[in-house]
């Protein structure tokens, strides 16, 4: 009876094929890859976007404003569908134009692209705020030392804005880990979709969904610990709680 309804039938979680543990772990690894890749891409877009918004010309500024506003106003699920299809179509159209054969874009690359574009809009705003919070004298001092804009960025602006940016950026990381679940809707086998398949074929719904929940929760809690440590390090030398 209990084994049939299956909440305590832990054999189903065995790592080798009759159990689904290995499949779940593979899905978890795929989720992690997506989150890390998307987050990194988002950071790159965010740094470029923040600098464009602060120092760019009027047209660039307006375009970036439109980018961040639109991305933040439309549900992630809709964006993921749009960008997933549009992104793969665009790459193929480009390849055909150049005269190369069409390629199948891996779900992972498309997923990272989608999450990166979405995260980029949010991290643009976070980084812009953080750069604005740097006392302007520090950047002026760098300029008066004769540093080039790129060196100023690398030596002064990025390190100095870090303590202001970390709370926002860590929030974005947690959002990125949870946004990976949305790719289940376009059929990418990350943790949530794999869980659904496992649950559907064994009928042990509660067991698998709870297991996946524990995995996501562990990821969040471990991330929180790491973030707290990074924040302590970035804030060293800054007086008091800000």
């Amino acid at each position: 009876m209990a084994a049939d309804s299956g909440f305590l039938n832990l054999d189903l979680l065995a790592l080798s094929p009759p159990g689904w543990g290995g499949v779940l772990l593979a899905g978890f690894a795929a989720s992690l890859q997506l989150a890390v890749g998307g987050y990194a891409l988002g950071l790159v877009i965010g740094v470029a976007g923040a600098f464009g918004k602060l120092y760019g010309g009027p047209i660039l500024r307006d375009l970036l404003e439109i980018y961040t506003t639109v991305i933040r106003a439309v549900p992630e699920l809709v964006l993921i569908l749009l960008l997933y299809y549009a992104g793969t179509d665009a790459v193929n159209a480009l390849l055909v134009m150049v005269g190369l054969p069409r390629v199948d874009i891996s779900g992972l690359a498309a997923g990272i692209f989608v999450i990166g574009v979405v995260q980029g809009a949010y991290s643009t705003e976070v980084l812009r705020g953080a750069i604005n919070a740097i006392p302007s004298g520090q950047i002026e001092a760098a300029r008066s030392y004769g540093m080039s804009p790129f060196k100023t960025l690398r030596r002064i602006t990025l390190p100095a804005m870090l303590p202001y940016a970390i709370p926002g950026l860590s929030n974005l990381w947690l959002i990125a880990t949870k946004d990976t679940a949305l790719l289940a809707v376009v059929g990418f086998s990350e943790l949530t979709l794999v869980t659904r398949q496992a649950a559907g074929s064994t009928k042990a719904y509660m067991l698998f969904y709870c297991t996946a929940g524990v995995m996501y929760l562990t990821l969040t809690l471990v991330s929180n610990q790491v973030i707290a440590r990074i924040e302590r390090r970035a804030r060293r030398g800054i007086a008091g709680p800000v």
């Binding site: 992630e76 990976t180 649950a199 719904y205």
Partner: protein, 271 residues
């Protein structure tokens, strides 16, 4: 006093940034061209056939949004309050609940409730024969519950900060006036915390709007589900999705304006 007085040059405020600077006119022209191309070259002939379904879907989305936000906010008040003043078992429970909900994806919670709890309910004949069963067989109670719990957890965290951030002096003043604990809560603590939470409440509501399309994955027919149906029927990829993005942008814009109106009505000095 004398003619030689050095007068400061009158302060000339910089010209305000206007909406229609030259480059903006150029950008608007470009966008007008893009919109024209989208309208002209893409297929929109399915629109009249589905318009009523779309309107119903928008209604369902808005209903889900406001009902879950309202009930979730009512649940968030005790969640925030016990974390600030409650006895430790309650505070511990509330914090655990918030961490649990905020640490897992909403999609997973939704599927856990719908497929997991739904299948557990179906195993018990007592539940199958109860009067609630006709409702428990449908999808929307599960969607409502998941969205509501999620809103409560995120907003509970906000309310915790808001309750904790009300200056102690105001509460002490209330006690000095001889207010009872409940009167103090109703007249001072709750309104002050609510004003402090209002700006974040607007952001949370927009986030909640953006989570509502997830319920389409458990067969609730909101505007996202209607658009998915259109895509299946017409084999179009982009047009329905573009329309959907436009609809959500309009809804977000209206929500933001609504909250700005509310915020402006509340008297505030700093805070």
């Amino acid at each position: 006093m004398s003619d030689t007085k050095v007068t400061m040059p009158a302060y000339v405020p910089p010209p305000p940034r206007r909406l229609l600077e030259p480059h903006r006119i150029f950008l608007l022209a470009v966008f007008a061209a893009i919109v024209f191309c989208v309208v002209w070259f893409m297929r929109w002939d399915w629109l009249p056939k589905y318009q009523w379904k779309l309107i119903e879907g928008i209604g369902e989305t808005l209903f889900l949004l406001f009902s879950t936000a309202a009930v979730g906010f009512l649940l968030a008040l005790p969640l925030g309050l016990v974390q600030v003043t409650g006895p430790w078992p309650l505070a511990w429970l509330a914090r655990g609940f918030c961490t649990l909900i905020r640490g897992t994806p909403l999609l997973l919670q939704l599927w856990l409730l719908y497929y997991g709890l739904g299948s557990v309910f179906a195993q018990y004949p007592e539940i199958r024969q109860s009067e609630l069963w006709p409702y428990l067989r449908q999808a929307w109670p599960y969607g409502f519950t998941a969205l509501m719990l999620s809103f409560a957890a995120y907003e509970g965290e906000v309310m915790r900060g808001a309750f904790a951030g009300v200056p102690r002096g105001e509460l002490e003043a209330a006690r000095a006036f001889g207010m009872g604990r409940f009167t103090m809560f109703r007249r001072i603590w709750l309104p002050r915390a609510f004003y402090r939470a209002l700006p974040t409440l607007s952001g949370e509501t927009v986030l909640q709007l953006k989570s509502t399309p997830l319920v389409a994955t458990i067969t609730v027919v909101d505007v996202y589900a209607v658009i998915s149906r259109v895509r299946q029927d017409t084999y179009l990829t982009y047009e329905p999705l573009l329309l959907l993005a436009l609809i959500y942008m309009c809804l977000t814009g209206i929500l933001v304006l609504l909250f700005r109106f509310l915020e402006n009505r509340i008297p505030s000095r700093g805070a």
